[in-house]
Amino acid sequence: MKLFSSFGQYLLMLRGAARKPENGKMYWKELMHQSVEIGFGSLGIVVIISVFMGAVSAVQTAYQLVSPLIPRETIALVVRDTVILEFAPTLICIVLAGVVGSKIAGELGNMRVSEQIDALEIMGINTKSYLIAPKILGALLTIPLLVIISMVLGIYGGRLASALGELVAGDAFDRGLQNGFTIKNVYIGLAKAYSFAFIISSISSFFGYYVRGGALEIGRASTAAVITSCIVILMVDYLIAYIFL
């Protein structure tokens, strides 16, 4: 029951966020600010995770490829597809749900509890469109970019690990990469990235915007935002895989 009423409230929030803003210039400023916060703020962790996850997937694929009948180049192909289809979008977005989600929920929760949202509301500002929409749009702008960066770096990490561990030589790896490549996989990866970006930003906004109480509740809301985002991401991940693959 509670789940349904929360979902209704969530949809109402999204509708409110889609309203026309009072002042386009201020709105734009806020969008830029959020994009920088979300995008630049998470770049470092995305770089580190991507390189390592590519490397790990290369090493593990090599370990599982025991048959001498299969050429070693296959490692490149497997790394490429897992990174593009699953690791870059899903793993990165799970991490971003933690990094970005808790930031969004914490920021809005603090604004709610300290009556800053009320203060904006009294001035006659639609706080849903002023506070939430730029976060969602900012996430939609930057998170897919981060995922693309992660795809590239992940494959690069795989190549690096293959060379270092003498699993496949660089030129053989590159040949393997071109083997059976379809752009469709990149599109699926990006479809995931956009879906997850929306999930993270809107769910975290929801938990933060409707906080009641004090500092304790802000913490709880942040945790709930991250957990809920992760669960929904994984469910949607399955759904997309089921539909497109």
């Binding site: 201020m26 604004m111 300290s114 009556e115 800053q116 203060a119 001035m123 006659g124 500002i125």
Partner: protein, 280 residues
């Protein structure tokens, strides 16, 4: 002027405002007083539209806030300033950005014009040289001042203050009260202040509404409070025995029964004080 007619508000099955009627005058500091939990904050939040009332009318200069169109309400809101109990400054912005925010949002002024207005109001609330500071770098009293500056920067017709001097020392409280009072007079604002600070009541209580458990119990001025025989009000205002005695004294003095210049012991000896005024 703001008028309330039979305003009712409940949360679930708990009725917080039980049909409040009141009138708040233009150019005056109107006070809402009452014990903790009597519904002062809820009443103010209803008046500014942060909470929806169940029934009743809230008339801003004659037009009902509740039934007016969304567009009109937006315009009206730009004429409302509010000082929050916790100041509610935007903590991602500097003092200057906080005060300028309403101007950024609702005017098409140049940056120079906006800056001029911001500096004018900051000076008006006696804050200079803190433009670049963030809210967490200034004291509670200064935050209230910034809150006031932000609330008046768009020259509002109505100013709401929820416990403007909670958490401040008596002297700073008095200065904030005076400031609000002066600004009210200068700009002919309808100011509504929630308070349970008795200094404020006596100092700036031009029109007082006493709220008790969501119902208006008494209305009047600070002068009238001193002579009031309303039992609940007296128990609330003059909570301590000391203050009750002081009130009696003052009442007697005003009526010429006692003379402040005379020696107190002498008066007591005469026994003429036993008039039982006010304390019923």
């Amino acid at each position: 002027m703001i008028e309330l007619r039979n305003v009712i508000k409940s949360f679930g099955d708990k009725t917080v405002l039980k049909g409040v009627n009141a009138r708040f005058d233009k150019g005056k500091t109107n006070l809402i007083i009452g014990a903790s939990g009597s519904g002062k904050t809820v009443l103010q939040k209803c008046m500014v539209g942060l909470l929806k009332i169940d029934s009743g009318e809230i008339l801003f200069s004659g037009t009902d806030f509740v039934t007016m169109s969304g567009e009109d309400r937006k315009l009206l809101r730009q004429q409302i300033g509010m000082l929050f109990q916790g100041s509610a400054l935007f903590d991602s912005m500097t003092v200057e950005q906080n005060v300028m925010f309403p101007l950024d949002m609702f005017t098409k002024w140049t940056r120079g014009e906006k800056l001029e207005r911001v500096n004018f109001v900051l000076e008006r609330v006696d804050l200079k040289g803190v433009n670049a500071k963030r809210p967490d770098e200034i004291s509670g009293g200064m935050k209230k001042r910034v809150g006031i500056a932000r609330a008046i920067v768009l020259k509002p017709k109505y100013l709401f203050c929820d416990e403007p001097n909670s958490g401040l020392d008596p002297r700073t409280s008095m200065l904030i009260d005076k400031l609000i009072h002066e600004i009210t007079k200068e700009n002919d604002i309808t100011t509504i202040i929630n308070t349970h600070d008795m200094n404020s009541v006596m100092e700036i209580g031009e029109n007082i509404l006493y709220l008790d458990q969501g119902k208006e119990e008494w209305k009047g001025t600070n002068k009238e409070i001193i002579f009031s025989k309303h039992e609940k009000l007296n128990d609330f205002i003059f909570a301590s025995e000391f203050l009750k005695d002081a009130k009696d004294m003052r009442a007697l003095e005003e009526r010429g029964i006692i003379d402040n210049d005379r020696n107190m012991d002498e008066i007591l000896k005469e026994g003429s004080i036993d008039a039982g005024e006010g304390k019923e």
